[in-house]
Symmetry: C2
Subunit: 380 residues, 2 copies
């Protein structure tokens, strides 16, 4: 059976990139690798829309999230953490683990943070050191208004840190223009690579705090990372160099398409899935749905995890389920990675067939047709 | 030109493993991945000769070294650190960064630690929490007597932590029999994988300290790693799952050959290189040379880094150079990875040709012949 990975990450990877991973291993302390790393960092800056220092860590995204906490905050610093989902909660866990005082913003799961709530927290606490936000809260498929939050934080002494792991490269995030002081991104999502690398940008404003904070990190020490890269174009510790070389191929594809076109493509596909859900009477979980992943409730009486199993075993289509209180209630369909509109139409068709077999009262083809109409409109 | 990577890591990877890396990405929260992870952990325990809990981190070896410090030690704990090279120094840097009081053992570069010095340090400081040792100090190609050190530490309340990153899988290390409480290994050395994964074992004795230490780690939190693996056979954060699947292929090869046979093979090849060096009048740096890498001084008047460049550009052979005070004086020839005796004979032949061209007074073929004789003796 032909597998189609429509999970919100790890996502599918183009064959050119996979073939690069099959090439012989090479040494990392060489001008060959330094050239690749310099090129990849340059491409990442383009994708992230930044001129800020950008680092590559051999770790999954959580490692780079940790780097943005342990390097930036002093023990006792106040950190505003937007939660409202599993990944937002990770921010407050990390901040607490490293001794920060957490000021939590708790939207309902599925709702984005109200920027006014962040504004109020900053006004009440003028000594906040950093605001931690999730661009796409993957557990609820909800996108944050980072641009609005960025305007508020830029007017204060606090730094804005954004977990963009699951969505950057798929949906708009303008690091510099929106005042993001640290951006964290993972390799296995919209950047078209397997898991293993994480990326972090550091603004001048963030460097000032990093330089004043006690040096509590080692593997994720940003001062060591800056010194190694500025000095010799290197990393302080052995990088996953074959993954970096493969990333270069994937970034070539994003560059060639153009980042605005990439964003528009994800917007069109996500819009098509939302149109299909509407036509099938399936409710969206999120009031601010992301273009990187869509979470839809299954019809009353249908176990979402049974539907997922049927999708995978009968049609090879992998989608994610719900976490915590959403388990068994929703499916989450990813729009990131090397999948296109036709893969997505196929997944909608498969979901329709599965739901009809499970006894749901839906019309076969209604979702596909609505999605086609949305795609035609988007390309008009 | 056909490249041959005889560096002490990253090392060459078998084609079966490289091809596995070119397979489509799959999701990590699946029974498919949990089965692969369980199998890999089981194979790692065989290679490490342990029944202790064994964890896979998405990081390079330094990340797992950090895990063995930040989880095991309380601030103010005493840590005996064997230095005598660049990687031993990393132990004392890590221990200091996380607030331990370092008791340094400083053998000359190229000499192993004298177990009596460690014994004396433990007697003077009965409250030592951990002893940090490097199995093969790669910067000097020197092997530590971990078995003897293990006997000493086992008689105390201290834990023995061994950085086996560059050598485990190539040379003997019997985790349980030698009383190693934490063993750290990297993927890109003798385990036949590209960089990106690091491994850590934890003995019962080590768990007691971990459970009592303040919880200062997050990405490298061992309690979280134990909970995720014991509970669902999982990792707490997204693992580099395609690297884990590829590792399974490499570990199949080590299992099929048998770990004692793998150790004997590296012993024979390293012995052949030492014999060649002797025949060519090239002095070894180390008084306790490791079977995973050999460091040899170049003849008087020959710049080692020029010789390395010639080896690479004329013959495709990559070897490492000297670090710090050894820069330009030595070459380090790795014996790990998917290279065999004939690759190694080729590298010796190339080195002879390069040295003759650079004006050294050596006899072409003398090193190769001595290496052949050593290989014949080893297989007799």
């Amino acid at each position: 059976m032909k597998p189609r990975l429509l999970t919100p990450g790890p996502a599918e990877v183009p064959p050119e990139t996979l073939l690069e991973l099959a090439r012989p291993v090479f040494h990392h302390r060489t001008s060959e690798f330094r050239q690749i790393l310099a090129k990849v960092v340059d491409d990442l800056k383009y994708v992230f829309q930044t001129q800020a220092d950008t680092f590559v860590f051999t770790a999954s995204g959580t490692g780079a999230m940790e780097a943005s906490v342990v390097n930036l905050l002093k023990p006792g610093d106040k950190a505003v953490c937007v939660r409202g989902g599993k990944f937002g909660e990770r921010w407050s866990e990390l901040c607490e683990r490293f001794g920060a005082e957490v000021i939590a913003i708790d939207p309902q799961w599925g709702d984005p943070a109200d920027p006014a709530a962040i504004e109020a927290a900053l006004e009440e606490n003028p000594d906040v050191a950093a605001v931690y936000v999730t661009l796409c809260e993957t557990s609820t498929a909800t996108v944050a208004d980072v641009e609005a939050i960025g305007r508020l934080v830029a007017a204060t002494d606090a730094c804005l840190v954004v977990d963009g792991i699951s969505a950057v490269g798929a949906i708009p995030l303008k690091t510099d223009a929106w005042g993001v002081d640290m951006l964290i991104v993972g390799s296995q999502k919209a950047l078209l690579l397997p898991p293993g690398l994480a990326f972090l940008t550091v603004s001048e404003k963030a460097w000032k705090r990093v330089e004043q904070a006690p040096r509590r990190a080692y593997y994720f020490d940003l001062l060591a990372a800056r010194k190694a890269f500025a000095g010799k174009g290197d990393t302080p510790y052995t990088p996953a160099n074959t993954l970096v070389a493969a990333l270069s191929r994937s970034l070539d594809q994003l560059r060639a398409e153009g980042i605005e076109a990439v964003w528009a493509r994800h917007h069109a596909v996500a819009g098509a899935v939302r149109a299909a859900a509407g036509a099938l009477g399936l409710k969206l979980l999120s009031s601010a749905p992301s273009d990187s992943v869509t979470a839809v409730f299954m019809p009353e009486g249908i176990d979402a995890d049974e539907a997922r199993t049927a999708l995978r075993t009968e049609f090879g289509v992998s989608v994610a389920g719900g976490q915590a209180q959403l388990k068994g209630k929703i499916v989450r369909i990813g729009h990131i990675g090397y999948i296109d509109a036709l893969d997505t139409l196929g997944a909608i068709a498969a979901l329709e067939m599965v739901l009809v077999k499970m006894g749901a009262a839906i019309e076969l083809g209604a979702g596909v047709r609505a999605a086609q109409q949305a795609l035609v409109s988007a390309s008009a």
